[in-house]
């Protein structure tokens, strides 16, 4: 059974459709990057997954539960870190740990305290005096101590320096990701998470434009950097001029055929994203 099973989700705000037939399937044990430009519907999709918003139509099941009608039960198995600090600023760190321990049956207090002990966070201080990096560390310690089956991250490292960002994803992989657990991440920093993803979903105008595993992408998509003087082969889904020359992205075209026109390689996610977003019918 998929952890997330979303089919033909539609959510409209007046005349604008934030979700317009959006599909998403996440099996257990996957790390899925939900990538899209601003206004593509990522946040609405995440809110729907978390039971924070209603849908106009479509079917959405998370861990066998409908998020909107079973949010409280769902949150026992789903953890969430959003783009900006949402921890109550007036609360002391120790009170926050007490609170989560008080309401969450799957929270491992000892684990959270052990993780906090590895940081410079003083448990007797209120959240408001912590730096942004420390607040993220605190939130991460709380969330990773929850035995959740799905972790939803919405631009979790926004505003953090490069060291914290690196540390964040290391902690995520080392301390959370195992077995049947899944992670759904949205971010603009695609290169930063590329190495941790198992799957990717490109989203635009409320629709999924690409849903594939990283292995499938490596297998199906090819970047051709044209040798000077050559013209690109027909059938590319994206083309752009770079300092290295003209680069074209192809799907399901044999690499040995493309190699006759230039250097072939696997496109990174940013190159693929740009190509697919700019392609009218990718």
């Amino acid at each position: 059974m998929n952890v997330i099973d979303a089919r033909q989700l539609v959510k409209r705000y007046g005349a604008n459709a934030a979700l317009d037939g959006f599909d998403l399937q996440v099996p257990p044990g996957r790390i899925v990057g939900l990538i899209g430009p601003n206004g593509s519907g990522k946040t609405t999709a995440l809110k729907a997954v978390l039971g924070l918003t209603t849908l106009d139509s479509g079917e959405l099941v998370i861990n066998g539960l409908t998020p909107w009608t079973h949010r409280a039960q769902l949150m026992a198995e789903v953890a969430y870190i959003p783009d900006t600090g949402i921890l109550p600023r007036w609360m002391r760190v120790s009170d926050l740990v007490d609170y989560v321990a008080g309401v969450h049956t799957r929270f491992d207090r000892a684990r959270a305290e052990a993780m906090l002990a590895r940081t410079d966070i003083n448990a007797s201080r209120p959240v408001r005096v912590l730096s942004k990096g420390m607040q993220v560390q605190l939130h991460l310690a709380l969330i990773l101590a929850i035995n959740a089956r799905l972790l939803v991250l919405d631009e979790p490292t926004l505003g953090l320096d490069v060291l914290f960002r690196e540390q964040f994803y290391d902690t995520l992989l080392n301390d959370y990701f195992e077995g049947e657990r899944s992670i759904l991440i949205t971010t603009h920093e695609v290169r930063e998470i590329e190495h941790v993803l198992t799957d990717v979903v490109f989203m635009a105008r409320g629709k999924s434009r690409l849903a594939a595993s990283i292995d499938e992408i490596r297998e199906q998509y090819t970047k051709l950097t044209l040798t000077t003087g050559n013209t690109p082969l027909e059938g590319f889904i994206g083309r752009r001029q770079t300092l290295a020359g003209v680069e074209c992205i192809y799907r399901n075209v044999p690499r040995d055929v493309l190699a006759r026109a230039g250097a072939v390689s696997v496109p990174d996610l940013v190159e693929l994203f740009v190509a697919i977003m700019e392609a009218p019918h990718a």
Binding site: K47, L52, R71, A79, G85, I86, P88, M91
Partner: protein, 324 residues
């Protein structure tokens, strides 16, 4: 149940200063007033030989009005039926009021004076609680912590009920404690300075224990009586994007005005005014029977039904509306 206690405790942690400081300040003022009266203030001995009430002249009150506001006054009052004057001490911040009470030559008025002492505590409590009723649902939206609370496995009904219970019955506990301390303090001082009444008579006259009972049941009753007002404020806090206090106050006024304009009636006005609680509940002087009468009235039942409806709407709003 453990969940619920955690939720109520969370509210207490967030709002404890709001509910601790006002009663602490009032209590401190009373303590200072009493200490000044006992140590520095002029100890005024006023002997009113009350052979008849006619003997109390307006000039007597004038004389007292010129005394320091806070002080300890010895008043001798002879009641009908007593051959000797009975003397007792009363510390009161309102001299004229105290004397006017005692001018009735009734030492049994002490409980009433103590009840009046309760009034400023409960008045401030109500004002603070009304403000808190808005902030328990509004502040979490404003600082976006709502998303954190909603990321926990707690449903909105339980959360809203915990907020209501906190505002109605948990937050006032600090005030109740302060009232009890203030009452004990004043009766204690009266005991120490009484020369002609023994300890038992002073404490008996003060009706200390029944007074405490009245205060405690009074604040429990108050929480239910004022429930529709709290529920309304919580609903506004859960819905509006800004200026919740203004909207919470103005929107009923507009409806009241429309009701008066089109129907020439004042039902909403009467309902709101009556549910800002009668003074008897503020002071605890209604007594258990008086409080029971209130709880058995039709107005109470209507208030409770309105509160339940508004709380249900607040739960719905909390589900619907996220951060601002």
């Amino acid at each position: 149940m453990h969940n619920f206690i955690t939720l109520v405790n969370r509210e207490w942690q967030e709002h404890r200063n709001t509910f601790l400081f006002p009663p602490a300040i009032i209590l401190a003022l009373i303590v200072i007033a009493v200490l000044l009266g006992v140590t520095l203030g002029e100890k005024v001995k006023l002997q009113f030989e009350l052979d008849s009430k006619r003997d109390i002249s307006p000039s007597s009150f004038q004389q007292l009005d010129n005394r320091p506001a806070a002080g300890l006054y010895r008043v001798a009052a002879r009641e009908d039926g007593y051959s000797q004057p009975r003397t007792m001490h009363v510390a009161q911040y309102n001299t004229a009021s105290t004397l006017s009470e005692l001018a009735d030559a009734d030492v049994g008025k002490l409980p009433r004076i103590l009840d009046e002492l309760t009034f400023p505590f409960f008045l401030v409590l109500i004002l603070v609680s009304l403000s808190a009723a808005i902030s328990v649902t509004y502040d979490e939206r404003k600082d976006r912590s709502l998303l954190f609370w909603k990321s926990m496995p707690v449903d909105d009904t339980e959360t809203i009920l915990s907020k209501f219970v906190f505002v109605s019955w948990v937050a006032p506990l600090a005030t109740v404690a302060a009232v009890v301390v203030a009452r004990l303090l004043l009766v204690g001082v009266a005991s120490v300075y009484s020369t002609e009444l023994d300890l038992g008579e002073v404490w008996g006259n003060a009706q200390v224990w029944s007074g405490f009972f009245g205060v405690i049941t009074g604040f429990l009753t108050l929480g239910l009586w004022i429930a529709p007002i709290y529920a309304w404020l919580m609903l506004v806090g859960a819905v509006v994007p800004k200026s919740p206090t203004l909207i919470a106050l103005l929107s009923p006024l507009v409806v009241m005005w429309l009701e008066w304009l089109f129907f020439d009636s004042r039902h909403l006005f009467s309902f709101v005014v009556s549910h800002i609680a009668p003074k008897t509940l503020y002071s605890g002087s209604a007594g258990f029977t008086g409080q029971l009468d209130l709880l058995l009235s039709a107005n109470f039942a209507i208030g409770l039904a309105v509160a339940a409806l508004l709380l249900a709407m607040t739960v719905y709003a909390r589900r619907r509306f996220n951060e601002i």
